[in-house]
């Protein structure tokens, strides 16, 4: 007599077998297979009635709500005109070079950094938990300027500049470009401070801001350059991130009052 395997009998008990009738006939005749089949059925019965406790929806919502960032729809991928491919590549390479130059410049700019060092050291002493999760929007509830009012001013200035960029169709005027250059140095310092403080969400936003500022500072004057920067660097998304950081600040101030 050919016996059925344990696997066949499990499939039979789960009604997954393609040969259910044949197994049934065999079980009537074979006591060994019938015993294994019964023990499988017993096992399934023992594990079939475990109750599931009901979760507390309100409590879970409250916990989840605190971690939700403000979302925006994913931007449609813009068709990039082929004739702009090489200029864009050149722009990216130039931006990279300038970024490297600025980094060196910042490292050497001892006087300015020395002014800001006390602020950085004050920040370093505060050990905040990092709530950053890579995603959409800076997932942090930490007030951006709580430890340094200069940071709040920096975000204000960056917000104004980005708003200007988002509403400009032609090339940026010289004053805005000068402001971008001016913001670059302080942005590098605040980025480093945020990173050392462990607030990676804030550091990521400032990092993005640094890239936009570098590009704005070095853009060549042409009618469509601002539009191109807007599309390539997603300045609208960055603006939203900065506003969220500022909102965190405002909320903190409201709580203090």
């Amino acid at each position: 007599m050919t016996h059925f395997s344990e696997e066949d009998l499990i499939a039979y008990q789960l009604h997954e077998s393609s040969d259910e009738a044949a197994i049934e006939r065999h079980l009537d005749e074979c006591s060994d297979c019938a015993a294994v089949s019964d023990s499988i059925a017993e096992t399934l019965r023992i594990f079939s009635s475990e109750p599931v406790p009901q979760p507390d929806l309100d409590r879970n919502w409250q916990r989840l709500r605190g971690n939700l960032s403000v979302l925006t729809p994913e931007p449609r991928r813009a068709r990039f005109p082929r004739f702009l491919l090489w200029p864009a590549a050149g722009l990216a390479a130039a931006a990279l070079l300038v970024f490297a130059f600025v980094n060196i410049h910042v490292t050497r700019g001892g006087d300015r950094i020395a002014d800001l060092l006390p602020a950085i050291h004050r920040i370093e002493r505060i050990n905040h938990p990092n709530t950053a999760i890579n995603g959409h929007g800076p997932l942090t509830t930490e007030p951006a300027g709580a430890t340094d009012p200069g940071m709040a001013n920096h975000l204000d200035a960056a917000e104004r500049l980005l708003t200007e960029v988002n509403h400009t169709s032609g090339p940026l005027d010289p004053a805005d470009r000068a402001q971008a250059r001016q913001l670059l140095l302080s942005n590098a310092v605040y980025t480093r401070a945020a990173r050392e403080r462990g607030n990676l969400a804030q550091a990521a936003v400032l990092d993005d801001l640094g890239r936009v500022l570098t590009t704005l500072d070095n853009e060549s004057p042409s009618p469509h350059k601002t539009l191109q920067v807007r599309l390539e660097m997603n300045t609208s998304g960055l603006l939203l991130d900065i506003r969220i950081l500022r909102q965190n600040d405002n909320r903190q101030n409201e709580n203090l009052q």
Binding site: I10, L14, I46, V52, P55, L57, L64
Partner: protein
């Protein structure tokens, strides 16, 4: 996906975080239930369900509106719960509550409630509950997930396979392996299963 859910997603993407409550009210219990089947305890199930909802929220901008939110969140929840179980298994410092005759806060032991009425009561006593818990804990996360979803939640193999991102035959084999292991683990309880 029905209109209420589609509207909620529109609102969320327009910046209204509170609209996510609509999706949570509809699906959290089902997600929690599956997470409980996989993790085997309430605290981890809630953690996995929350993490799944947070992940889904952050991925909402890329979510295809013609897809089912329910299927999508279930898939995320399964993966999240399996990852949590694997993380717990790796984390030697994790001491979950252990089952004991006399619950003790200092020893972090709990007593299993005997909620099974009728003729099963004698079999499913405290010793049986301990054996059940140990037998399930001895399964791999994949086996446990495949088994509990197939047997306790009555999900079809195809759906489980899709959620686990494995071929249907692998999911089926995982169920079979799990039942075989459980049967042997329970041998002392059933007076020597063959």
């Amino acid at each position: 996906m029905n209109k209420a859910e589609a509207d909620a997603i529109e609102q969320i993407l327009a910046g209204n975080r509170d609209a996510y409550r609509v999706l949570m009210d509809r699906h959290f219990c089902a997600v929690h239930r599956i997470a409980f089947r996989i993790t085997g305890n309430q605290a981890d199930a809630e953690e996995a369900a929350q993490e799944a909802f947070l992940r889904a929220y952050n991925k909402l901008p890329g979510f295809r509106r013609d897809a089912s939110f329910s299927t999508w969140i279930t898939r995320i929840a399964m993966n999240t719960a399996i990852n949590l179980v694997e993380r717990r298994n790796r984390d030697l410092s994790q001491h979950g509550p252990r089952i004991a005759d006399n619950p003790s806060a200092t020893d972090q032991t709990v007593q299993m409630a005997d909620v099974y009425p009728g003729p099963e009561r004698q079999l499913l006593d405290r010793e049986a509950a301990t054996l059940r818990a140990e037998a399930l804990a001895a399964l791999t996360p994949m086996e446990r997930t495949a088994f509990t979803l197939r047997h306790m939640e009555d999900l079809p193999i195809a759906e489980i396979a899709a959620a686990l991102n494995v071929p249907a035959n692998s999911a089926k084999q995982a169920v079979f392996r799990a039942i075989g292991k459980l049967r042997r683990s329970l041998a002392p309880l059933a007076g020597g299963l063959q």
